[in-house]
Amino acid sequence: MPLVKRPASDTSPSAPDRAQLATKLLDGTDQERWDAARDALEHPDGLSLLGRALASERVPRVREAIFTALAKIDTPDAASVVLPYLRSDDAAQRTAALDALKAMPSAAGTHLPALLSDGDQDVRLLACEIARRLPADESARVLVELIEREDQANVCAAAIEVLAETGGPSSLPALARCGARFPDDPFLAFAVKAAADRIGAR
């Protein structure tokens, strides 16, 4: 019998069976769910399965594996699955979500304008860390825009923290205006001066 080469597009023998993968992801032991999170990367429906599993997963180690798998998928849709967890009441979930988004800066970057304009100041604040992963010019541009309109000092402080690294001389006027808008915030005055000093020293 002649050997017939399998078409490159036919990955069914190596792709885990969907139902089996879903069962492991949703109802397996901790180790099986952890393994399944990694296996889901190879499955065409991996993204939706990972999103469903993340919604119900409570074990930190498995949750981390799911966030890591989503970061490896590295698409705007994968970032969309992660975004709601920035609003979690659980600090560990927020941290894991933010770490995943920072690991896929290009994909997460497509959501950045919306995140930096979000109605929740905590989301805007965390989004500054995603902006840190953009190319420096782009990072500085979006964060200067943010501090020019932002009314929460803590969000400005988070943006200035990043601008101290990514900003340039063109960021300095916006930094000064931002500091002037919050004259009663001692940390912001400190941060503006420190960031200006660092930018000036480069």
């Binding site: 402080a157 988070a158 001692p186 400190f190």
Partner: protein
């Protein structure tokens, strides 16, 4: 030498400007300051050296502040009894409750004045 000069404080925060701000406030009062960039690095330092106080942020990469506090409290004495002051922008009651439940001694909401920080450090270090 004042009491504060003998006290060692660990500052755990991923924001460089925040660490610099805290360090300036604490060193001006004579405290010795060590820094960690996240909860994991904080754990490494607190296992290697005894601290009179840890000042810890909530949102940090790799390990958040709540997990850091919970982990420290689950360790053996004397590490588990290290006083911990949490400082965060998270001002909701659920955030404060989570910090207290994890074992933080006190929770301050940013922004914070340098004098206020140094006062609280002195209170929890017993350096008054």
């Amino acid at each position: 030498m004042t009491d504060a000069a003998k006290k060692q404080i660990l500052v755990v925060d991923d924001a460089a400007l925040v660490r610099t701000y805290y360090r300036a406030a604490l060193e001006a009062r004579g405290f010795k300051v060590e820094e960690a960039l996240n909860g994991l690095e904080g754990l490494e330092k607190i296992l290697l050296q005894s601290f009179d106080l840890a000042i810890v942020d909530v949102n940090m990469p790799q390990m958040d502040g709540i997990t850091f506090v919970r982990t420290v409290r689950a360790m053996e004495l004397p590490v588990s009894s290290t006083p911990i002051l949490m400082i965060s922008t998270e001002a909701g009651p659920q955030d404060i409750a989570a910090a207290r439940q994890a074992g933080a001694n006190y929770y301050l909401v940013k922004p914070i004045k340098q004098d206020t920080l140094a006062e609280f450090a002195a209170i929890f270090c017993g350096a008054h």
